[in-house]
């Protein structure tokens, strides 16, 4: 059985996992891309969702050569897009259930 308990990560652990410097992670936080719990970098706590978002920010920064403020903007738009796609998918599904009702009559 693999270990996947809810994890809370420190700044140092985030650096180890992402193989990035503290300064890079601090920059990501300063741009509001992720919002760890805690006031000072030493007390910051990150959950898996924040780690996933940080990794996404790093990939976009590396592969698309976008600066951090551009990343912050892109990620919020991407999140909105994903939410709208999910909603759209759900509504299409719902509509098809009503239409099925019409077909059977």
């Amino acid at each position: 059985m693999s270990d996947n308990r809810m994890e809370i990560l420190s700044l140092n652990e985030m650096c180890e996992i992402t193989v990035m410097s503290k300064n890079t992670i601090i920059e990501i936080v300063e741009h509001g891309i992720v919002e760890p719990i805690g006031d000072e970098p030493e007390s910051w706590r990150f959950d898996t969702r924040m780690l996933v978002k940080t990794r996404k920010a790093l990939r976009l920064h590396r592969d698309l050569e976008i600066d951090w403020s551009g990343i912050a903007f892109s990620i919020s738009l991407l999140e909105e897009l994903e939410q709208l796609r999910d909603e759209n998918k759900a509504l299409i599904m719902r509509l098809s259930r009503f239409e099925q009702g019409c077909d059977s009559s």
Binding site: S2, N4, I17, V19, L64, E65, R94
Partner: protein
């Protein structure tokens, strides 16, 4: 091995300037980056584009590729020229060249692994801040984990299989109750092995709730479409409604409207704290198929007796 024409992949002329190469890469990368694109083969497309750019953006490796292109572009199957040795400059500025093609690996992968490793470590901030080089980690792996709605009611165990290089790996994973669509589960150290004894990468599983035959998901609430005959909606009735944990008896009030949402408390999906959302049954009045003359006569009688105008709003 398949010959890869990096110019064709970036859709540029072999005489393209450095600026044109960069522009072509940026344009295609924005289109196919797996974090941005909805294209179904985005991951592989982007890998090809990144590989092409990795070679063509560097003067030395581009010149090497131009040589190979003359030599290898004609044949069906490609083999590196005898005695071929690359300057090894590719892959020193981008982080993930591990999963580039065999063509890339055999031609441009640096022969001096240590130099590349030091370079990666330095670039990724391993020097200075920690005072010493940190070893590079193994590659992280991402995979989807389909989960049935029923499985989110309580902790469930799933068996997953995935590929690391040529090896197939199977794992058992616990998915906590209340796990939602799109959530990620991180399995520490279950990714690709680290080079030279460095720590393994991680495995990230993205939970995908499998669409249900009856229920739609709205956050932690569930929605079921409830078909009613016209007389059931008008006269009211008692019916059995399906929930994820068995059927429930539900009272339909007289004069219920089409589209009305009936709330069944606590029969939705749980959150991580164990609190359940609700189930909403949405009324869908269904007219029966053409019936016998007796039924038709009853409808006609109703029509004659009732002065109800469903389009009164139009005439205001």
């Amino acid at each position: 091995m398949e010959f890869k024409d990096y110019y064709k992949i970036l859709d540029i002329d072999p005489e393209a300037s450095d600026k044109e190469i960069k522009t072509a890469y940026r344009k295609l990368a924005r289109k196919y980056h797996p974090d941005v694109s909805a294209h179904k083969d985005a991951g592989n497309k982007f890998k090809e584009i990144a590989e092409a750019y990795e070679v063509l953006k560097n003067k030395e490796t581009r010149a090497e590729f131009d040589e190979i292109r003359k030599y290898g572009a004609q044949g069906q199957s490609f083999r590196p020229p005898p005695g071929w040795q690359s300057s090894g400059n590719a892959g020193r500025q981008s982080a993930s060249t591990e999963d580039f093609s065999d063509f890339f690996s055999s031609l441009f992968r640096n022969a001096n692994q240590q130099a590349e490793f030091d370079d990666v470590a330095r670039r990724q901030g391993g020097f200075g801040e920690w005072g010493e080089a940190r070893p590079q980690r193994g590659q992280d792996i991402e995979s989807d984990l389909p989960v049935f709605l029923e499985d989110t009611l309580k902790e469930s165990t799933h068996s997953i299989s995935f590929q690391i290089g040529s090896k197939k790996k199977t794992l058992k994973v616990k998915v906590p109750a209340g796990t939602g669509n799109g959530e990620r589960i991180r399995l520490k150290g279950q990714g690709a092995p680290g080079p030279g004894g460095a720590s393994n990468g991680d495995l990230y599983l993205r939970v995908r709730l499998v669409p249900h035959e009856l229920f739609d998901v709205e956050g932690h609430n569930l929605v079921v479409v409830l078909p009613l005959a016209p007389w059931e909606a008008v006269l009211g009735t008692k019916i059995e409604v399906p929930t994820l944990s068995g059927n429930l008896r539900l009272t339909i009030q007289p004069n219920s409207q089409n589209g009305q949402r009936l709330r069944i408390k606590g029969k939705g999906l749980p959150n991580k704290q164990g609190k359940h959302g609700d189930l909403y049954a949405v009324i869908n009045v269904v007219v029966p198929p053409a019936g016998d003359t007796g039924t038709e006569a009853l409808w006609k009688e109703l029509a004659a007796a009732n002065k109800f105008d469903p389009r009164a709003e139009w005439r205001k």
